[in-house]
Symmetry: D3
Subunit: 333 residues, 6 copies
């Protein structure tokens, strides 16, 4: 019986020029959909889990097409709600070598940003779930979104469902009047697994010093928020827009474990690779010991760099093969 | 020395699935740009006139790409202003036969809707122009846009420049607190040429009765607004989404003249055909007598139905040939 | 509470050259999926019904991608089964005017043709359904498929679910040793609604004479199979590959009612239009009286001719508008 | 044993914007190849004949790619010669309804225009052929091309091979110093079948008067050039760029026979339709009586209007079906 | 006078999502054709040799389109036979970095697998050939295919034509009842050149031990099958799906020669690279000494990794330049 | 107030197969436009300068479309002249790894090659410019082009405008009767900045010996042509068609300064990278000291390798970021 994951957050229309074109030369845009939390759900679904995503779309053809994207990629969409008329969007120009990829967001006033706690019945949504995952993007969008997220986490706690949060957030995303320092800690307090960075821990929780190692910071975080069982970090070394290196690290209250460093020499699409890592972590923690879970997460992350679009569509077999050290990518017939 | 036209209004990104696909099946969207007034300017530029468009775009890569579209299609863009961050957009699903084309607008909060009168120096913009054209869409967008439009018209009056207005508007477009009945008449009062419909005259100006002919309504309109010299109407018979008939009608204070009825049996793209009519009318009135001008306008309108995108790119030679009755579309080698 | 439809049958990969290209010039093929029964389910889903499709796909990436197509287009796929390795396929070359479209099937040995009755638990599949629909294609594929179909129909009868059958079939499809005359009557005997033609009635059931009208043949059919409540026919007049006329006819045991004749002057894709008719009929009979139901079915069928691919994605609003006589296809903003 | 056709003439690279785009909007061009005589050869090859084309291409990758196009479409290319460096080209912008298609040629200085009689050994080329076909385009290109064409015709005469000429030509094509009146008659004198028009006969041969019927002109032509056995004409009625009517007419020295008028209501690509007519005529005269041959030619011509590109790829079965009056284009499964 | 090569084997339709898409996201598939032996023939044809391929295709439009692909790429197809109705196919999902490319075959029941010895007259096919090439795939397909292959080889022996075999095969391909150990040795016995691997020699012929070097195994093979003159191996080091290294090795009964190692750092398409090696070897052995031949083969193989599709289209000039050590890929103007 | 650049030279239509296809497989060609000097102007325009290009196009739709390309990419085209009918063209097949890109030019007889000095009024063109740039390609095209170029340079001298020349040229380009040694020195004599190579200096000016360093050659060049203030060189190390290294070097009469070596590991399009270097140099010398200018030029050049097409569309921000050493290409949100 596959485990079931619930995620919550905005899903945006992603529009990008074909190949390496710039907007200044494009006459068509490739259309997919993506959002940090839904990306995690879809990744887990491709790995064999059950997954449902909760979001709010405009009540029109575009909102329906976005829902259809989620359904196509194996998500249950029965808890999606509809209203208002603007679809969140982001525009992506893909870079290479020394040229950075560039992202322009248009999400102010989106249907999702207008979400209110009364619109979602979390008891119903979470009733047969095993895991709930949130990210630091959602509470940054609007007060309503932040409240919905907190409601979800508290309901998950009540139902005994594991909660993970990927709390990477950027100051410049918080525009509705609250800061991340005011909002994130309440959400983290009720979470079991936290994906973050040294800087994230220092900035969001006022914990630790600049010279503290990630292990030390993770330890301090668990001391303050004792519900947390795992503090996890993904290290990315950006050699160029076409070549990254990835390594996962996990502190489980006792041990501090690092995965192998994976060398992604020919990047196809680096968007959503953090979400692939989170998905790999969730799947990994549900099915393996910590040592293997962090290898699985890193492998999933590495493989996502080769898939166009936001979402990781690799199979369990692909991830396991890389987790076990086969980096050859040798053709399968 | 070619005549120079100035237009003012929002230009939107137009995103549409390829061919006759619906959004529910699209994996890419075709990208062009369009807006009623800019469409008129571009049409006139392809006919050989000089033309500049005044608008406001977001101050980012997308705003620049939109500007580049206008430049590519021969417009001068030196008076475009930039600010804020949202690009106006519309999504178009192309219909056929009994299936209607469907349009979804996303223009609330766009950079253009935030325009303020102080942002544009109309004396400078209009200094060497021959004609200024506006439409009923612009004053519906925001108070700032309406004021800019009125400023432009008054400056044109001061400089002795002909003013035309295409005043078709829809009640449901007016969302910022004013009605079209409050705003449009002030703009029309200072215009020389008005494109409208029987219903438009009755609803916007409280002129005439339901049983009045267009000629009678046009006469009454001129009596109330004596600056108006021509009242023009385009009749469209919609046999199906793939087959329309077009006829132009003009009342010049003395005569009421109708063009031939043109039969567009295989429509490629019907968006912007009204703007092509307006452009044909402007070119026609500048270069021909009224009888020929209305034939020219109808011919330009008919030809636009065969061009993909919002804007009419046909040559003067094409329009003249159709105006003179050659409906054969025989291949040119 | 929307009504729920269950359908059963093969879904094939459809591969066709872009536009009007022939295979002799193609360097890519457009990929969608289709099959008579799934097409009906998807149409009904777009109209607002709940719908699930039961089929068998190869247990590989292609079978999953086909499942994803069904999910994307709103179907529930929880009862799809997997096994063997060949995907049914059809190749379509689209014609125009005097040039016929051409279809090449490759479905022998497909995963679906290997289906066995034990693979599907119909009690479970049908437990909360309102309607079951089958076609004459399924029993022609293999003995296993025919038996599954009969099991489904009998289970539906037991559960009090309405059964409809679209029994158009072609002799040359029956290759596994049985004839349509041996198999179809058993299936029809337990059906409530039958879509057929005069020739179909005469050939499959040995009922009526060549000079009998459809109404007379329908009457005779009901006399022999008294469970049947409606006998329905779609008349297609093929003026050219680009221009058809469609009219629906229904005999309900008392009245013989004809819809308006719809004139599809610019066909985009005629495949699946019969399925769109069947879907319209099912929706119509569930929501309207017979007079309106047959108009609804014809309107749905006509609209499908404008949608690329096998499946009808038009909205309830579109069909109702055409059913009520608006053939103009006037743009919706 | 299939009959063998030899053709001779320039083959150009054809570059055209996708769909109905204009060059002012194109970011890619569709690439095929075409030329009046090669188009005839390919059509005949698709009908089941053997066919070889003789031409001259630049000695580079582009010349090879053009050769590969001919090979792909069933021609023998063993007699193609190579030299110089410029590929003949034409640019095509496809029109619709009232908008004409527009063609821009770039063939001056092409490798073919540099051809010299010594480059081709016609005895060898024609040794096992049944038919040689030429058009009035080739002698208009250069003196060398005209001489090669005459050599071919004379060699064909010597070997007892039937010769047909499609002598439609335009004054503005003749730029190398000779006129069509000086060159064409010598070629026609040795031909058995001539495709032309009333105007063509009057202008090229100084035969007949403006009021003479085609039949009368054909008769006079045969009197002057007694080797001619059939004089053939294709009448095209151009209702719009999207809708033509086609009728074939043949005078065989005794009878004057007209085919049915075919109504091509939705044109896909009208280029090469005259060549499809010529090919149909050749095939028809080789396999049928004159009455059927002219129906076959008209049917082939009509079908070409539905095929993208210059060349007619329809099957013998398609043409025969239309020749026998089935204009329905009903789908073939 | 160019040398002539004959090859024999199945040619499949190859369908693959564009770029790096997975089947789960594709809405179109790129269409080319390929098969190990035809790939060799085409490569040799691009290098300047004459080449004909013998195969069997379904007797329909798809079989003709496949034939047209071979003709386009310079092969003679006069010995292709037609019958039955299924086209062999393979589906390819292209990988990158750690993600493997994945291939799904659908070739059971294909027209080629139904081939029988009586269908091909090898005396006629081989009458003016210089070389016959076969691979270990063909005898794995069906007993008929294996027999045809043996007939061809024996006829070649009789006519004094050099025979090469690329005997790499996989156990899981042999499904018709015979094993590779039963079939391959008979074919090898009559071959002059064998491409294989250490494991291939050990497994197929029960020759050598696990610790034997390739040179030693090659020597033992020649001792058992004295007709063999060259035993050749291509070593591939798979650093990732995007980066391989290639080296060729040849044992000619006296010397054991290795080519330079070529470093393919940015793979475009690795399918067919083994066939490009075989083609390079054939061309090389026909035109150079062994030392150069093995360099030529490696260079041809390396270059194929940069060509999309199954077949190597590089020119002789390209291969010679790389063979001579110019690895710079510097632009040619 | 941005600085204004004027450039002069041919702009060609560039036609290339999609991705890494060869002409032997292409069914469409990607269409952009390019030419060494216009590429420089466009690059500078994207960096924020004003720029106008002077050229001659055919007086037809293709010439207009080329003009529209320049306008789209921010150039002023008011000084473009039109006449004759042939568009210059080049065909590009993109290589990878060991496979070279291949270029075929078709520019003989082009509208630009027919240019005459009387067609351009340089006083008018250059009146408000700050910089004029020419390349060694223009004087190689025709005597008229060479004279126009010299006129432009002399007029620039008269008006006190800085002149730069990128004098790389190839012997095989000079076909109209003059050699580069006869023509280039006169142009260089009046130039302030010269981009060249050691070999260029030795071959064009008969200056220096094979063993002289670039610094020494540059010094000698300035001694002979004292108007020259900077002699600049771009060193390219071609590791493969997919991997280059770039370094800029400048001698300013006093110092010899080298930029960092930039490592372009995943080339997208290497055409126009020299022009991007020249543009970076012009922008750099106008806005920075020499040390930074040469870093800026190298950075601009490196970034162009990641942009499809001939022209560099990167922003000032992108170049400055790389100039300052950020080679990470880290995503910008």
């Amino acid at each position: 019986m596959p485990k079931k994951l619930i995620t919550f957050g905005e899903v945006m229309m992603r529009l990008s020029p074909p190949g390496y074109e710039k907007f200044s030369q494009a006459s068509s845009l490739e259309l997919v959909y993506g959002g940090g939390e839904a990306n995690v759900a879809i990744s887990c679904a491709y790995l064999g889990m059950k997954a449902a995503h909760v979001t709010r779309f405009p009540d029109n053809t575009l909102g329906k097409a976005a829902t259809q994207f989620l359904r196509r990629h194996w998500l249950s969409t029965e808890h999606v709600v509809y209203g208002d008329s603007m679809m969140g969007k982001y525009f992506l120009e893909k870079g290479a070598v020394h040229r950075p990829s560039e992202v322009i967001y248009e999400r102010e006033g989106s249907a999702f940003s207008m979400i209110e706690p009364s619109m979602i019945n979390w008891e119903d949504v979470l009733k047969d779930a095993d895991w709930f995952h949130w990210t630091g993007i959602t509470p940054a969008i609007s007060d309503g979104a932040a409240q919905c997220c907190l409601d979800a986490i508290k309901t998950a706690n009540k139902l005994g469902i594991t909660v993970s949060g990927d709390i990477n957030s950027r100051d410049n995303m918080w525009k509705y009047g609250k800061t991340m320092q005011e909002v994130i800690p309440d959400l983290v307090e009720h979470s079991d697994v936290v994906i973050t960075s040294s800087r994230g821990i220092r900035e969001m929780f006022d914990i630790g010093k600049i010279e503290d190692s990630f292990k030390s910071l993770a330890k301090q975080l668990i001391e303050v928020y004792p519900k947390i069982k795992k503090v996890v970090k993904k290290t990315r070394r950006t050699l160029s827009a076409s070549h990254h290196q990835i390594q996962g690290k996990i502190y489980n209250g006792k041990e501090y474990i690092k995965s192998d460093m994976l060398n992604i020499t020919h990047i196809i699409d680096r968007v959503g690779t953090g979400d692939a890592f989170a998905a790999g972590l969730i799947y990994g923690l549900l099915h393996y010991k910590d040592e293997e879970a962090i290898e699985f997460a890193s492998a999933a992350c590495a493989l996502k760099h080769t898939i166009p679009g936001d979402v990781n569509m690799v199979s369990l077999e692909n991830v396991e093969s890389l987790m076990q050290g086969d980096t050859s990518g040798a053709i399968k017939r």
